[in-house]
Symmetry: C2
Subunit: 340 residues, 2 copies
DNA sequence: TTGTACGCGTTATCAA
DNA sequence: TTGATAACGCGTACAA
């Protein structure tokens, strides 16, 4: 380490080597047909030979494009480490794929929400051509304000009335409805809902949960609605709370697979069996869902497709084009946690 | 969207507003004590008021610092989506934390290995102040060459003789030894090893596996060494292969928790019970390990600490300072998959 | 088909 | 304590 450090070649160095002007070299490297084919090939060969790479920073300054998209993950609670949530991970991976396919880099930011207006600041810090926010969280207003201001920003999350930015998200209401309807159809009578309904997406899932009850001609017990954040620890805390409460239940709709796994574990600790005593439905269809004991019945979100759409919208936004919110269909995946 | 787009304020705009020169403003924003305190405060207030933010690109061009560290994840196989591996995700999350604590951004690249010299190219593309490679994979030579060339690069992975870059990694030999010794000590007689020993880290784990046999006065059966990549699909394929093979075994050391979960599942499909019929030890202590059925006995890697060390080394490297390879202790975590 | 000249927005050097 | 001026490395009108 700390070795030779070959002096970095600059474009004018390369021009000197080639006996050309920098403009010609610049155009040749871009394969600009204005330049004679022979010249282009010679310059490109020279560049390879001398290990020359365009300085992306200078290029950005001049062209006002960074070739980078920022992905920001709002952290709801300091303690949360949501990057460990399989949904975030999966989304991140697919975004990385979709972006690199388009030749873009991914700048990752985890930003503590409500730390003043850090989300807005991060968004405004034009270090990237556009910003993708994973999960509006409580930041809808900040994102919306930035978007109104002309910041190219899109988000994964719920479609909200009057929003000024494009979103891609699952049909959360349908997801919540499918989950609850499935349990009710299988003879479960008293369903609990585990999730933080202050988050727009979760609120919509809960809407669907309520609607399924209406459609089934029953009512849900609001004392069985327990707030649980996506973080593993809080999911465990909330699960224990629900299990140790006095209100009986025989079905649970959870806002994520992590939460579903937590409640199953908490039930087991109390000697209750899933699915015999309680049916559980998760959300996400995370990779772990199939491996859980028992395998999780869950609502599948189409992450890969969603990531591609988000990237499309983000790139469009970076060009100043508007985009329409997209709501993606979800699927109920029935596994062992809900049926015998 | 595509709205007003407030014209972006430049530093000289702000200077004009303040009635100062750009030099003074630049220094005032940096809180340079050369500038009168009153002036500094006035400028900073003005900046906030007008929503001014330094253009990071121009700043980089001039100062030759990007405030960004690149994290590259070599993809061994096109089909692999290693970002879904809990180890990578965890590492990434902790790196993001450690970097943002130091005020750095994280540029994420997934690079297809052996796509010519893409790793080297990415590394050389000074879009970041330093590069952290997660998992040397097969790229040791490329990384080493870049490092010899003066590229500030560090890696998570195995300590290899004569390397020119700093590494942080677990004591893989001890990990492999602990895992195998634990199974042997509990009466298992015939141990299989599931993992791709062409990867330096896995090779070292296998070394430890062999060593445990020697210490125990037994021999391992080389037909029970089955290559398995970290990807979920290949882990399942390899697990089925091992289970359907003719050679009997009563213990498995897996190179990751994902692989451990896969073999347990494959055994279950064949009607074999873990831990009764076969004892299984994983590697990583991923969050899912405790949730698996049965909960996984595993070798814990100290990710958070490792991430911090990697960041320290990367920043040191960006300053041209050398760093020493670090090998971190591992711990055997005994859970239900290895003992009754 | 190639070259000249300027500017992107900042920081560093030197002078005042 | 502040200001003038020159880079940083590249892209692009405009000229040749």
């Amino acid at each position: 380490m700390g070795h030779p450090r070959t002096p970095v070649l600059t474009m004018s160095d390369l021009a000197a080597i080639a006996g050309l002007s920098t403009s010609t070299v610049s155009r040749a490297l871009e394969n600009n047909p204005l330049i004679a084919l022979a010249t282009r090939e010679r310059v490109q060969a020279l560049a390879r030979e001398h290990n020359y790479a365009i300085n992306p920073v200078a290029r950005s300054l001049r062209s006002r494009k960074t070739g980078t998209i920022a992905v920001v993950v709002p952290l709801v609670h300091e303690a949360d480490q949501p990057l460990s949530d399989p949904f975030f991970m999966g989304m991140l991976g697919h975004l990385a794929d979709a972006l690199s396919e388009r030749g873009y880099d991914l700048l990752l930011s985890k930003v503590p929400v409500h730390a003043d207006d850090w989300v807005a600041r991060t968004i405004r810090n034009r270090r990237a051509d556009a910003v993708i926010v994973i999960g509006q969280s409580f930041e809808h207003d900040a994102i919306d304000a930035a978007a109104r201001d002309g910041v190219p920003v899109v988000a994964w999350g719920a479609m909200l009335p009057g929003q000024h930015y494009a979103t891609v998200g699952s049909d959360n209401r349908e997801g919540g409805r499918l989950a609850a309807a499935h349990l009710l159809a299988n003879g479960r009578k008293r369903l609990a809902f585990l999730g933080n309904i202050e988050l727009p997406e979760v609120a919509q899932r809960f809407d669907g949960f309520v609607r399924a009850h209406v459609e089934h001609g029953t009512e849900h017990d609001s004392s069985l609605v327990v707030p649980a954040h996506f973080g593993r620890e809080d999911a465990q805390r909330a699960s224990r709370e629900l299990v140790q409460g006095e209100v009986r239940f025989d079905g649970v709709v959870a806002a994520s697979d992590i939460i579903a796994a937590s409640i199953i574990r908490a039930l087991a600790e109390k000697g209750l069996n899933v699915p015999r005593d309680v049916g559980v439905v998760g959300f996400d269809d995370a990779p772990l869902a199939a491996f859980n004991a028992p395998p999780l019945t869950t609502i599948r979100q189409r992450l890969e497709e969603g990531a591609k759409l988000l990237v499309n919208l983000a790139l469009a936004a970076s060009r100043g084009e508007a985009g329409e919110p997209i709501e993606m269909p979800v699927d109920l995946i029935v596994r062992g946690s809900s049926v015998q």
